[in-house]
Chain length 345, copies 2
């Protein structure tokens, strides 16, 4: 493959030239990747393991705003969002395919930046990029990623296995990505009014990172192996804690009690919420984009996880007829509401 | 899951309601589908077989025009395009994921129509829809499909195995989808000028079907099994015969001779080409969207395929230094040109 002149336009490069260019440096990392980019299909060999597949689509103006999201970060985050779904099965992501549709406003440099973020995520998580599609759109950028992973049959954790008296646990802390987004949007509004202002982002590095460059919880899956834990149910929580615990309860035919005062939040999340006059618990319950794992454990695992700094016990599973409730700091029970959907506008 | 009121808006339905609604009637068909829609990821069990993965993205205004493409057909064709890539590996497609981004101009009925085409293709080819994403876009419709299939390791056919003196074969006939598109575009232009005219489509049913409701060549893969043939190389030809034989030659380090007078074309393709003053061989070489298979066979297989009505021998593989040539009806050699890309505009 030939060296691409940076000034060459996407039109001159053409589809195959662009794909060659974006994938030429790929070094396959996984023994399960038999054939990556370059044929009608990729070929994978998982031996006798089960194949786990998930897919996500992100559209400009709905899921991201390139006014304040660096395009390299967007590439990175797009991969992370998919990996998180595979970890939520207690499985190991191994390969991704990446399809993008882009309009003529994007330069080759911008696409290279996007892919540099994608390649970085692949490198950090040991993932092979094995295929995809690159095409034109009339407006904006759409990114569609499919991730494939593997697991032994008896390792897999579904949403259906929660049982009354199970502990409800969550990894990391919640609400940060949402508050980071509020901060970025505020500063973007200020910038639109006065383009000479510098954004006021000091002191909020953590929540900005939660929004712009999140990580997926590969470490939690590893902790499970180390502690010899297998959750009874698990789900990726990026659509919001509230809607996702309701999914688990519905599919497991249970209820739940979440304790408001147990829900982990970072100090920056709380500070930003106070500054913007937002109830931080709402950000934690419904904000979304926290690529954390929500899972349930038999009560017998309590001793194993109670001191783990990456895991917080936030409640317990109850009978279905008790409903899905948040127990407030004041001790009253409030029925949970799902709000995990960007409504069609 | 509850019955959806047809008049319910997409906004009221929400993402999860829409996914539930579009996937509620799915009956899994393949033993390899362990878990379909409804968890963080689908789970597949291919035993010891290899996994084959391909993906395609289609955008409104670039790949399709809803002015004259019925949206159900679009759904059907989107699946076919992906299946064809798996057959081109000599493998068996088993599952797909479907992600769509759509703007508010689409009604629930339109999305149901799109999915009815998707479900019909799945039914006809024995495919399970196991996942996907449904999201909003600011404009238009984008469809991204990923297909997974299986094959025994020694069944797989790559693009790299063509050898000098191999026969070059193609399934079906070529140029029809392109000429069908020209016809549809002509009638659409007439309609835009005078909305009382009826489109003149009589006598061109075949090329319209090639464009609007193509099929993938599952039958060719079955013929290979029956005739005990394994191609030395194979590729899906939907980007055009010319560019795809060049791919095979490049990746196999060979040249080729294609014979103009051997290239199979339907009479409707030729008639439409004449009517529109287009050289039909250009439609066959570069028109694209014919979901046919191009493959190479050892010369010893000649007797097995020479009388097969679905397979045409169109040339032979030569040494790389002879180049990639079309031998015209007049007997002169013309170097092939690739033109398989919708340029970025």
């Amino acid at each position: 493959m030939t060296e691409i002149n940076k000034n060459k336009s996407l039109e001159e490069l053409g589809e195959f030239g662009l794909i060659d260019h974006l994938t030429k440096d790929i070094q396959l990392k996984n023994p399960s990747t038999v054939k990556g980019v370059g044929d009608d299909a990729a070929v994978l060999d998982y031996g006798s393991k089960q194949v786990v597949v998930s897919t996500d689509m992100l559209t400009e103006g709905i899921h991201f705003n390139l006014m304040y999201v660096p395009i390299k970060h967007l590439g990175y985050k797009s991969v992370i969002a998919n990996l998180s779904d595979i970890y939520a099965m207690n499985a190991h992501p191994k390969q991704i395919t990446v399809s993008i549709a882009l309009s003529s406003k994007f330069s080759l440099e911008a696409i290279e930046e996007l892919y540099s973020g994608i390649h970085l995520a692949c490198k950090n998580y040991g993932i092979d990029l094995v295929g995809g599609d690159t095409t034109t759109s009339l407006t904006g950028l759409t990114i569609s990623i499919t991730v494939l992973g593997e697991a032994e049959k008896d390792e897999l954790v579904y949403r259906t296995g929660a049982k009354p008296n199970n502990l409800i646990c969550v990894s990391g802390d919640l609400g940060g990505a949402y508050m980071g987004l509020q901060l970025l949007e505020r500063e973007n509004e200020v910038f639109k009014v006065n383009q000479h202002t510098q954004p006021q982002l000091e002191g909020y590095q953590y929540i900005l990172e939660r929004q712009l460059k999140p990580e997926a919880r590969k470490d939690i899956i590893q902790i499970f192996r180390k502690l010899e834990i297998k959750p009874t149910s698990m789900i990726d929580i990026s659509d919001g804690l509230s809607s996702e615990i309701m999914h688990i309860c519905k599919l497991s035919n249970t209820g739940c009690r979440l304790y408001e005062d147990k829900i982990p939040m970072d100090n920056q999340t709380k500070a930003m919420a106070e500054e913007l006059n937002i109830n931080p618990i709402v950000a934690a319950l419904n904000g979304g984009e926290d690529y954390e794992l929500l899972f349930t454990l038999p009560i017998g695992d309590y001793e194993k996880v109670k001191n783990d700094p990456d895991i917080t016990i936030i409640g317990s599973i109850s009978d279905a007829n008790e409903g899905t409730n948040l127990i407030t700091t004041g001790g009253s029970a409030i029925q949970l509401q799902a709000q995990g959907w960007n409504s069609v506008k």
